[in-house]
Amino acid sequence: MISPISPALQVRNLTMIFPAEREGLVALQDLSFSLAAQEFVCVLGPSGSGKTTLLRLLAGLLHPTSGEVVFSTNGNGQRAPRIGFVFQQANMMPWRTVLENITLPLELQGTPKEEAIQKAEELVALVGLQGFEHNWPRDLSGGMAQRVALARALIHDPDLLLLDEPFGSLDALTRDQMGAELLRIWQARRKTVLMVTHSISEALLLSDRVLVFTPRPGRVRLDLKVDLPRPRQEEIRYTSRFTELSRRLRRSIG
């Protein structure tokens, strides 16, 4: 089935088999799905179901054994898709200040400096880091560093934002807080997002759809539409619909 709105991204029959040194591990097999423009999709699944492999394939860090990934940007002109990637670790460059870390993607694109700085300052405000622009990354806590990573992933207006358990290394309280922050930030800057997470409530709070993966090799077991109204607030976690969807996801993961 092809969705009526033109998809921002189509994954077609993607298979990833790692070379023999890694025991010919089949990470993904015949995986297909599509993402609509500005859709927020979460991927849930047991450890080792190829979720991170999928993100790395989409970012072009790995090449698939077979199958393809088609971006809608290939339509007019053959522009390579722009990717924003937030990793499990913040991956700051320690020799760059907070602001300089955020402007990095624009510098690589050759954007004029003043423009890059102006855009970075807007994002600093959006992620709530005013006053820390000129600090070194070593001065930041884990939650703050992930805010910087998020700002850096958004600055070059990516066609696809990939989030690989971005809050996985944070403590539970900071994690909930960052989930709510991400909701607010995404509602301000709508992007096509694919996020890997282990938290059912995080997935439901944020996404339009949740894909549940099977254990290795990874395939889509359940494609659940999250019909919670938008704009959402954190309180939506306590509604009965939220609980119901949450139960369905929990059962599906098994």
């Binding site: 970012a59 990095l104 690589l108």
Partner: protein, 282 residues
């Protein structure tokens, strides 16, 4: 919005100061590093003078500090010390520059292409088994006793430590930052400029620090073998004339030169690596 707390790892945790005169003396010494250095220098000179006087040695075997100071004043007055020092310094700097530049460029390719590493490493390591002193005469025979052979000797001696540090530094660039750059479709040149060079810079500067002092040794070796100018030449001439005080003057000038270069690299580190450490030092 959460309250964000500043974390500053540079701030030392202050413990309650322990009492007692010994603890207080230790604290005084720790806080007045400069004076301690000056004091130790004065102590060394005094010791030297005492030994020279007690043993009652002639000046051509062990001159007293005052005699060396007088010789220094004379060498400064007739301009010979400046002339010889300037020449040696030029050799040292050009050799350091040429040696570290070639080592950094070659190191980049060795770190990037493993086959090149396997191809060249045996020769590079074997070349280190040859003492520079042993091949310096050959270089002077081939390239003359002018400045070029000295620069070559300096660069040879500087080359290896800088090369090793370049390879080690570039290999240690974190893989997750490489992933970040790749996801942003960085070109190899951008990879070098935005990631590899800054990430390897601390180790690169460490190599330069070692290279700076080695370069001084290289210059002296070259001048010993064949030259008519420079501090190494001066040592040779003064020794021949039993002007031991002048030998001391030349040796101290060389030490001062090596220390200044070392200090310059440290200054450079403090400027460029402000993000890294809270405070520098030896």
């Amino acid at each position: 919005m959460q309250t964000i707390q500043r974390i500053n790892p540079c701030e030392e945790i202050k413990l309650a100061p322990p009492g007692g005169w010994r603890a207080r003396l230790l604290r005084f010494l720790n806080q007045n590093g400069r004076w301690v250095v000056l004091f130790s220098l004065l102590l060394a000179v005094a010791l030297w003078d005492t030994v020279a006087r007690l043993l009652n040695l002639p000046a051509f075997i062990l001159p007293r500090p005052l005699q060396v100071a007088e010789r220094l004043a004379r060498a400064l007055q007739d301009g010979s010390l400046i002339r010889h020092s300037a020449f040696t310094l030029l050799e040292v700097l050009l050799g350091l520059f040429a040696g570290s530049l070639t080592a950094t460029v070659l190191g980049y390719f060795l770190a990037r292409f493993h086959f090149l590493d396997r191809l060249l490493s045996p020769y590079l390591v074997a070349s280190q088994a040859i003492p520079v002193v042993a091949i310096a005469p050959l270089l002077v025979i081939w390239f003359g006793s002018g400045i070029f052979s000295k620069i070559l000797i300096c660069s040879l001696i500087v080359f290896f430590p800088v090369l090793v540090n370049t390879v080690v530094g570039l290999r240690a660039v974190p893989e997750n930052l490489r992933d970040l750059m790749r996801s942003l479709r960085a070109t190899p040149w951008q990879m070098l400029r935005y990631l590899e060079l800054p990430a390897a810079l601390p180790v690169l500067l460490g190599g330069l620090r070692i290279g700076a002092t080695l370069s001084v040794i290289g210059a002296v070796v070259g001048e010993f073998v064949g030259s008519d100018i420079g501090l190494g030449f001066l040592v040779n001439v003064a020794r021949g004339q039993y002007d031991t005080a002048l030998v001391f003057v030349a040796v101290f000038t060389l030490i001062a030169m090596a220390l200044s270069l070392y200090g310059l690299v440290i200054l450079l580190e403090k400027r460029l690596l402000a993000w890294q450490k809270c405070s520098g030092g030896f």
